[in-house]
């Protein structure tokens, strides 16, 4: 009897190990390990070959030859283009995160205050656009923002302007596109947080004579800190590396790191340089990602 249960227990332990191992190994292999390869190739030299870079380790005369090349990083510091691209990307991400928060917070607040049955509908309405194609929704803005597009035609018809505004291919268009595409990512965590709040807290503070803005500022806003952090990280981090929106809506002068990396990789076929660009971006994002992960884990444990 004892033997049987022992075997069963071992069996169960074995099964558990598989449940953990399969997803961990998959994500290790196809998500974590590739970063090491990026690291490796960032220190290789571009070459006209397949694949187009030199090997870090080569076998020559029965001895390993380690060839580490720092040229990519030196090159990145020499050309002001790259520094500008990084700074532009960070600025773009910061401003659009702020705009998303500004628009998303009241929206999330409105949903969280609605009747529970209405909440579902409103959430679905927020989510529905993001289930349709992201690419196509960005594309829609081209038709709207063009010099002879819907917006300009409307404004001119209304007589607000007499010359079409140049919006497409400017940073304004990029901001519109980013806020448009990432707004749901801000609203969802904010809503999830705000809906948990005890509304009586605010009512209590109003009973105590606090004005609405005061009670919002002192109670609701600090309480929703976790939601704000989650939403901001969910917008900020991916936007730093955004490629599609600046490519479609921005002009040639909106230089961001996603675009530069893409061009180095696809147009110049300089894989090592693209890798070093990615590596630096990764280093820049390390802190916010760590922040996000910690927050995620906290949220995860809280519900238990």
């Amino acid at each position: 009897m004892k033997k049987v249960t022992e075997r069963l227990k071992r069996h169960a332990e074995h099964g558990k190990r598989w449940v953990i191992a399969v997803p961990t190994l998959w994500l290790m292999l196809f998500f974590a390990l590739p970063f090491l390869i990026v690291l490796k190739i960032a220190f290789a030299e571009s070459a006209i070959a397949i694949p187009p870079y030199t090997q870090l380790l080569t076998m020559a005369d029965d001895a390993f030859d380690l060839h580490v090349y720092f040229g990519n990083f030196i090159f990145l510091t020499e050309d002001a283009l790259y520094l500008t691209a990084y700074l532009n990307s960070l600025k773009m991400a910061a401003i659009s995160t702020f705009l998303c928060l500004l628009i998303g917070y009241p929206m999330a607040y409105h949903i969280a205050r609605a009747k529970p049955s209405t909440q579902t509908v409103l959430l679905l309405l927020i989510l529905l656009p993001s289930w349709t194609s992201f690419l196509i929704r960005i594309y829609a803005w081209i038709g709207i923002l063009k010099s002879n597009g819907i917006l300009n035609n409307t404004l001119m018809w209304l007589g607000v302007v007499d010359q079409p505004l140049a919006i497409l291919n400017t940073n304004v268009a990029v901001y519109i596109g980013i806020v448009y595409a990432y707004l749901p990512f801000m609203i969802l965590p904010l809503y999830a947080n705000l809906v948990k709040h005890d509304h009586s807290l605010i009512e209590a503070s109003q009973d105590l004579g606090a004005r609405w803005l005061q009670s919002f500022w002192r109670i609701t806003f600090p309480l929703s800190r976790n939601g704000i952090i989650a939403g901001c990280m969910l917008v900020f981090i991916p936007v730093v590396g955004e490629y599609v929106i600046p490519e479609l809506l921005g002009g040639t002068n909106s230089i961001v790191i996603g675009k530069v990396l893409w061009q180095e990789f696809f147009n110049n076929r300089d894989w090592p340089l693209a890798s070093s660009l990615a590596l630096i971006m990764l280093l820049l994002l390390m802190l916010p990602i760590h922040f996000f992960r910690k927050y995620q884990e906290k949220e995860w444990e809280e519900g238990k």
Binding site: A12, G15, K16, V19, I20, P23, T24, W26, L27, F30, F31, P34, F35, I37, V38, I103, P106, M107, Y109, H110, T120, L124, L125, P129, W131, T132, S133, L135, I136, R137, Y139, A140, I142, G143, I144, N148, Y180, L183, E203, W212, L213, F216, P238, V240, G241, Y243, V244, E247, G258, F265, A274, A278, M281, L285, I289, F292, R293, E297, W300, G303
Partner: protein, 272 residues
């Protein structure tokens, strides 16, 4: 209390207009007979005809659906395993690592994921001779990978709030753990599995950046096709495609919402 509600309501409906007007414009202009998107030249459905006649685009649609289907399947399977590990096993070695591996893809910029995966595949081919060529297979791996992260978030949040006594009751009645999981837990969390699957599916259907990196010659997916045609400017065919996508997504959402509401109402009615 009235005042602030009104302010947030205004902001909400303003935001909704912001979200929906562009989509509305796509729908309207897809029925425009003129090639020039901004000039209205009367109703027409000819762009839909042209869309369906565009064999390259249609082939890309099928390829994308195929990749999305398999990516979503894989993502849900891996997501279920990861969620079970994260929510049911308590503390174990490597838990924190699994957490990071699941959380990081949610925010990692596409260009980084795409580039690193491509370099990974190239190195693998170099060392192992596999995968021999890049195409739908490598896109499937890439999409399954980030799909797994999203699926895990959806599934584990449902698993976390699921009353453990369901599984305990099943075991109490004689079902071994795996059986209890399959017969009781899985059916109960089925709605979460479906939404995780749909999320992974739409994410895969939507991805252009990662697919561009890891795909090979001849394996263009729909987003890659759309992207290259959109880069050249506005095309009414894409409007027609967009309208169809919006229509399908709206219908699926509406049906799902209606079904869940009907069930809720019926249960209430029966109980009272």
């Amino acid at each position: 209390m009235k005042q602030p509600i009104r302010f947030s309501s205004v902001m909400f409906w303003f935001g909704m207009a912001f979200l929906y007007l562009p989509m509305l414009s796509l729908v309207i202009y897809s029925f425009n007979s003129s090639r020039l998107v901004t000039v209205w030249a009367g109703w027409s459905t000819k762009w839909y005809g042209e869309l369906f006649r565009d064999e390259g685009l249609m082939a890309a649609v099928w390829r994308s659906l195929e990749v999305a289907f398999w990516s979503a399947n894989t993502a849900v399977c891996l997501g279920v395993l990861a969620s079970v590990a994260l929510t049911r096993f308590g503390r174990f070695r490597g838990r924190s690592m699994l957490h990071s591996l699941v959380a990081a893809p949610l925010v990692m910029p596409d260009v980084i994921i795409g580039l690193s995966l491509l370099l990974m595949f190239v190195s693998m081919t170099d060392v192992l001779g596999w995968p021999q060529e890049r195409g739908l297979f490598t896109i499937w791996i890439a999409h399954a990978t980030f799909g797994t992260a999203y699926a895990t978030v959806v599934i584990s949040s449902r698993l976390k709030e699921l009353d453990r006594s369901f599984v305990e009751a099943a075991m109490d009645l004689g079902a071994a753990p795996v059986k209890a999981f399959v017969q009781i837990t899985l059916p109960i969390i089925m709605p979460a599995l479906v939404s995780a699957w749909l999320l992974a599916f739409t994410l895969s259907l939507d991805d252009v950046v990662i697919a561009s990196f890891v795909s090979g010659p001849g394996a263009t997916t729909l987003p890659i096709e759309v992207f290259s045609s959109v880069r050249l400017g506005v095309s009414p065919k894409i409007n027609a495609l967009a309208t169809l996508i919006i229509l399908i997504v709206s219908l699926v959402t509406l049906v799902a919402w209606w079904l869940s509401r009907r069930k809720l109402k019926r249960d209430k009615l029966v109980r009272s």
